[in-house]
Symmetry: C2
Subunit: 666 residues, 2 copies
Amino acid sequence: MTEDNGDADRFVEEHERQINDLLQEVDDPADAASDDDGFSMQLGGLELGRRDFVKAGAATGLASAAGAFAGCQTALPESATPSDSGGSGSQGSSAAHSHVVEPGEKDEYYGFWSGGHSGEIRVIGIPSMRELARIPVFNTEAARGYGYDDQSSQILEAGGGYTWGDNHHPNLSETDGDYDGEYLFVNDKANGRIARVNLKYFETDAIVDVPNTQAVHGCTVLSPDTKYVLGNGEFRTPLPNDGRDVNNPEKYTALFSAVDPESMETVWQVKVDGNLDIVDTGKEGRWAIASCYNSEEATEIQGMTHDDRDYAKVFDVPAIEKAVENGDYEEVNGVPVVDGTRDSDLNKGDEPLVRYVSTPKSPHCVEVGPDGKYAFIAGKLSPTVTMLDLDKIGEVDDPADAVAGRPKVGLGPLHTTFDGNGHAYTSLFIDSQVAKWDIEKAANAELGSSDPVVEKLDVHYNPGHIQALEAMTTDPDGEWLVSLNKLSKDRFLPVGPIHPDNDQLIHIGDGEKEMELVADHPAYPEPHDCIFAHKDKINPATTWDKADYEGEKPFVAEGDSGVERTGERSVHVKASSKRSEYGMFDFTVKEGDEVRLTMTNVEGVRDIIHGVAIPEHDVNLAIAPQDTREVTFTADDPGVYWIYCTYFCSALHLEMRSRMIVEPRD
Amino acid sequence: MTEDNGDADRFVEEHERQINDLLQEVDDPADAASDDDGFSMQLGGLELGRRDFVKAGAATGLASAAGAFAGCQTALPESATPSDSGGSGSQGSSAAHSHVVEPGEKDEYYGFWSGGHSGEIRVIGIPSMRELARIPVFNTEAARGYGYDDQSSQILEAGGGYTWGDNHHPNLSETDGDYDGEYLFVNDKANGRIARVNLKYFETDAIVDVPNTQAVHGCTVLSPDTKYVLGNGEFRTPLPNDGRDVNNPEKYTALFSAVDPESMETVWQVKVDGNLDIVDTGKEGRWAIASCYNSEEATEIQGMTHDDRDYAKVFDVPAIEKAVENGDYEEVNGVPVVDGTRDSDLNKGDEPLVRYVSTPKSPHCVEVGPDGKYAFIAGKLSPTVTMLDLDKIGEVDDPADAVAGRPKVGLGPLHTTFDGNGHAYTSLFIDSQVAKWDIEKAANAELGSSDPVVEKLDVHYNPGHIQALEAMTTDPDGEWLVSLNKLSKDRFLPVGPIHPDNDQLIHIGDGEKEMELVADHPAYPEPHDCIFAHKDKINPATTWDKADYEGEKPFVAEGDSGVERTGERSVHVKASSKRSEYGMFDFTVKEGDEVRLTMTNVEGVRDIIHGVAIPEHDVNLAIAPQDTREVTFTADDPGVYWIYCTYFCSALHLEMRSRMIVEPRD
């Protein structure tokens, strides 16, 4: 499955071999019970020692995969320090650039963070790094009543009924290549789903369980007009996964999926060889580029990392659409699945659906630069970033001829971001650094040269995604970059065995200055990625617009409160709410009744939310001004239950109650 | 139900009448659609106008309760500004004291925040205000596997099986009157529960559903040695609440409960008149003081706010214990319930169980000062704080004679905190201010005098709890104070109709300087209270100590991985986990099998967590180094399911998978 890509590739391969040899020599010295002692020392002379220490820890996976894990306690040799340019290491000294937003002032940018297996999206202000909001997406969450009121319960139910997800890649909807502030889309790797968040109300309004695919990992919108939300199926499974072929892994397959952003339905899928990891698109609506770390199609780690090369896949979206239009597909679970495997007839003509581009071993990320010219494919197990020229990819006979550069940036390169001023910044997971490098210099240097690297900065520790302001648009804003570090080790007060991640804020200015580490920001597990939008591009409502739910839910005005018996064992309770008072001070139902409660917050004032807690019935709603929410539950046990407001809304908030009297049925 | 307390009380009552008259004149000008326009102006000349604006908003509840809500659009008159000393208003200017903790440095204090109806505890570093961790308590949460693994599911099940709670008052366990770092206790108002968090592992280890009581609101530990965790039942219900007396509110009752901190069982309860709101204890293990805002025992807001006076209740814990010991109780649902109502025989001797102390209308908070001399009972609907002399309360015939001071501090006083240097700081909900006042001066001034007030600071907006560093111990540390403001309005970038709260950090130094507003900190709804401990008092583990679960759970070493069929439709899967590899690359079960999965993280290195996501089975575990977790689920549908690690643990994290093959049963 490897392709020959010339002398440059051999140069890189040689370097990789050196790294692998190195990694197999070391193990994690922390296993030698010196962990806490070693880490408890604060900054200073031991800084280098600690960094090597963590590098070794991150590398254990590699060593382990190579079978060198057990028992080896070799200390990291001095010569093993693979840092090829000095980190600028500004930690410990007061930063020249402040990220502090003074009381009464506001942040300049919205940051939307994926929340990993917490299932939520987090909204963080930049540069303050303060968390402004959480948006529950795949998880249930009582403070916002998400998964508690009927409306959000239906969204979760339509998405498969799971109570959590693993969101990785948040994306903002685009019009003409710029953020339009309408939607945020994010994947759920755990259950193969994609969700949409409405940015008028900052709440989830749809979840699609993508058919035929497990582990939607990479996720992006198709620039420039969000024609599709695209999702990478990472895990190869039988197609369909209904019990057939379970013991025949050679028949498993991975799918690339396109979801319509309005209907949130899966409109087509592409079957591929290997697997699919991360994806990004070009700026003109044609190319989607995905990485593949398991071209071996193995089911065990040794097999997945066996070969020296893997590939990236370049999807030609119009060509796929044409194939679907021509009926060249198999329908599986209601979705047209076109064949994008290498040997497919559809891949043999002048317009192949999928181009397979050879890359060094196990590429992880793909990011397309601001001008749309290059896709940057980071090496993960290679110290390089492959630059794929998207202007050429449609022209060349051998896709490998579209490789325009392959700078050597350091160990464990995972993700790349941009300052809009000619620089790329690549996170180095194993080196625990950010490498800044010159894009055009890399395009013109020998493949595998480290010359384009301008500077490296130590981060703490093991960065995954990094993002600079609006780096995914055609016009990045520079100034700030965030490195999402997977480990924090001893950077914060200890909080038990589950450590926070460490999102570090780095000042990059216009790219003409040195990188400067400004702030450590602890993050609840486990953010993967983030995306930034200038505050002027997001325009949330501060109260509800009734027109947005007219016909779907009623608006219960103050005079409309009341109880209606709708059946032998069912009642419908309607009530308004305003500061200090629900529309009814009490209502009576019978033991065993199904109670449907419809509540409107009749206030017109921003930030006056009313909650509806129903003790011992596991219900809490949050109703914003002018909004209506409904909940249906069963009044199982006779007794008195004081419904109360959970949002502190006035000096008489504690007195804001309604009494549900459940009379015994006999 | 009122008591005559002499001239001073009449002075206060007259003042209250003036306030109520004022409040009934105003309504919320924001209803006049000027809300967003008015608030969109950034600082500057309109500051006073905006403040008045918000005061009027907060007061609406009062006006509404008095029946003056509808239609009234009277603008707030200039003369209505009840600010009797200029706020120092440092917002907008750069603070002299920085709260920034530089990269690589650590915070000085742990802050433990209640998460309100999110159900969680948040750990926030002081002074940085960075969130270091969340601890799910009453909520389920996938990132930590809480409510997903069998162990935590059992904790939630034992606590009633609810998936959320409303936690208000976090308390740290004490030994000799100081924090011992062992436990944190917190109430659930929604379902009448108390939970315990183990501070070695920063995770919830027990929840008790307190019998016979609804809405455990006030919650505190009995100083100085945590003999009990004490909980206030806020809502009056039938006793027991099983369907009897539902339509006879005069038979409803509220209970004060004592929970054993080790067994987490409810050991006794006290039946009282009125209701129970907030509670604190003296420093010597005898007195617990609770507020009561509904001495009227009404079921509607108008009745609850009808009388001019309510009371505080002073529980004599040894006297209650003696009554229980003597068998002077009724057992209800397995708990001894002693009668602490006013007319009870037990309340008539020399050692009454409960002393009823007359206070101005609707007191809310109770906080006992550092030296244990005074309980500070804030007025809520009175502009005063009542200082109750705990040295005298056991000596006087009429409990009202133990009132040592009643300073007039401003509108809507809710909570009081201390700098250990003679000052009290009271939050003013309606005034949106913090009032700093001199405790001894108040004790010697005319009751109702505003002379003791030293200074007021504007906060933004509508503060509830406030806390200074270690203010609840006998030796407060001063320096920083946090005001937990319920509304943030326009202080942050807008994030839709559900606004964050605003926890503001205020520098108070040793109390001899002016208060200085240093930082706004957005908080996800809805923290109520917080408590601070110096970092040296908390000593969490960074990896698990096997001895802590020996006999309860196995430790699966690498060689012990395997599958055992335990029944016709059940299997037990045991596996280890380390970086990049689970103990088994695959395992096979049959459709419909109940699968019990036991997984150990065999790593010894801190911060290397492994996750266990099971796609389409709604499971995610988080396993810290040396810990074991178990989960039981049913493999309903045949197919291939790739179990994967959700904690990014090495460069080969993506390859860390196990394949669950579910074979069709036929």
